[in-house]
Subunit: 121 residues, 2 copies
C-alpha cells in the first residue's frame, strides 16, 4: 500500500517497527485520561483482540505479558483506534484498579515544571 | 538512579531509547482526546520546552520539525507529564487546527472492528 492508501484503507494493517513492536497508548474509556503507554508485538496484539484484555511485550524482560496478570489490575478493552499511518494504537480501556505498577491511577502522575522539576499531580 | 528512584524523584531525567528518542503523546488540553503520537530527541524536547510549541524528530526524514511549521497547525504546550519510568511523555496541548496531516482533528480517526476492519469515527 502507498502512504495515502494506508491513511484511507478500511483494512487494519498495523505497521510494526524494526523491533517488531507497535506503541499502544491506553486511555480511560470513561474519562479519556492517558493511563499508560506500552508496546505490543504481533502476538500481544492478537491476544489483546482475542481475549479483550490488554497484553503487551516487555522490552526489558523480553516476554509477552498480560497487564494485571499478577496484580489483578487488568485493562479491559473497550475500543481500539489506529492512527493515520497505522504505526500507533490507542486502547480505550476500563481499568480494574491502578494502571501504574507504583499503584498510581495513571503512570503519568508527575508534571514537568518549567524549571525542570517534577511535581506530583 | 535506581528504578525506584526514577519513579519517585522530582528531577526530570528523560530516558531516551537506543535511537535517542522518547515517545510523546499529544492530548487535547481541554477535552483530553489523544491527537497524535510522535517522537522527540533531546533537541526537539528542549525546543518544545523553550518555545512552548511542540517540536519532534522525524524518523523518516531524519530531521527536527516544528509541528505545524508549514500548515500553521501548531500545538501549543499547556503542560507536560512524564511517566513512572521517565521514558514517555504526555503533552497537554492546544491545537491550532487539525492535528493530523490528513486534516482530521486527530490522527486516531479510525477504530479497529472485531473483524479487523477500520471504521471512521
Amino acid at each position: 500500500m502507498t502512504e495515502s492508501d494506508i491513511e484511507t484503507t478500511n483494512r487494519f494493517e498495523p505497521r510494526f517497527d524494526v523491533s517488531g513492536l507497535i506503541t499502544a497508548v491506553c486511555v480511560d474509556a470513561a474519562g479519556g485520561e492517558v493511563l499508560m503507554v506500552a508496546h505490543m508485538n504481533a502476538e500481544s496484539l492478537a491476544m489483546t483482540r482475542e481475549t479483550g484484555f490488554a497484553h503487551f511485550w516487555s522490552r526489558s524482560r523480553q516476554m509477552l505479558w498480560k497487564k494485571g496478570e499478577s496484580s489483578g489490575h487488568v485493562l479491559r478493552l473497550v475500543e481500539m483506534l489506529v492512527d493515520c499511518d497505522q504505526d500507533c494504537l490507542v486502547l480505550r480501556v476500563e481499568a480494574n484498579g491502578p494502571a501504574c505498577h507504583t499503584n498510581a491511577r495513571t503512570c503519568f502522575y508527575r508534571k514537568v515544571t518549567p524549571d525542570g522539576l517534577l511535581q506530583r499531580g
